[in-house]
């Protein structure tokens, strides 16, 4: 339920497939969050590095938490370059209940931003520049300093 792609996501295809996969699962609420690359600061796009083993562990722990709530999570993310107005991220929750779905998508997306081992680079003038000032140190950082 964690899908990684080289380059931009095909958002309509992914949303259609996920919706149809769970069409008979009796979930009453489905909330995807779609992240798209904005034109800002003169960038040509973004680029992503992913460390898959820890991303998979992080996602599996969240899936177990969602299951306790009666919910199900799906996620897709891009590796490498994603150009302006293309999408790099979809997180989605399915749940029998509206409240659980709304709360879970918010917590999941916020924890994703704070914890998922993904590094973002601006593509600018043909260079790949680490987006340091927009990045968040993972909880527990600095123990070696």
């Amino acid at each position: 339920m964690l899908e990684l792609y080289e380059g931009a996501l095909d958002v309509p295809e992914i949303l259609k497939r996920w919706y149809e996969e769970e069409a008979k699962s009796n979930y009453g609420a489905f909330i995807p969050f779609v992240g798209t690359v904005r034109a800002e600061n003169g960038i040509e796009g973004l680029s992503f590095d992913i460390y898959e083993p820890i991303l998979t562990n992080w996602f599996d722990a969240w899936q177990a938490e969602a299951k306790k709530r009666g919910a199900l999570l799906k996620m897709a993310h891009s590796k490498g370059d994603v150009l302006l107005h293309q999408s790099s991220y979809i997180a989605a929750v399915f749940s029998p209940k509206r409240r659980v779905a709304l709360e879970t998508i918010e917590e999941f997306v916020e924890d994703f931003k704070a914890s998922a081992p993904i590094w973002k680079y601006d593509l600018k003038n043909g260079e790949r520049i680490y987006a340091k000032e927009r990045s968040t140190a993972i909880k527990g950082s600095g123990i070696l300093s």
Partner: protein, 73 residues
């Protein structure tokens, strides 16, 4: 021997070290001036599990990863 990986933007090749705990790792890595800024802001994983404290023994064959600040999405 343990292997140390530097993830994402740190941009340094993996190294192998003959150490038995994270305190020793900290001392070794501080010798590399280019790592100073990264040590302050990076999390540490042992065999792909993030650890919360430096008081952690290491075993032969362990894989240690340094994770600098993240920004997915």
């Amino acid at each position: 021997m343990v292997t140390v990986e530097f993830l994402g933007p740190i941009g340094k090749e993996p190294i192998q070290l003959d150490i038995t705990n994270l305190l020793e790792l900290s001392q070794k890595l501080k010798e590399d001036e280019s790592l100073k800024e990264w040590l302050e802001c990076s999390a540490v994983a042992i065999n792909d599990k993030i650890v919360a404290s430096k008081d952690h023994p290491l075993q032969d064959g362990d894989k240690i990863s340094l994770l600098p600040p993240v920004c997915g999405g």
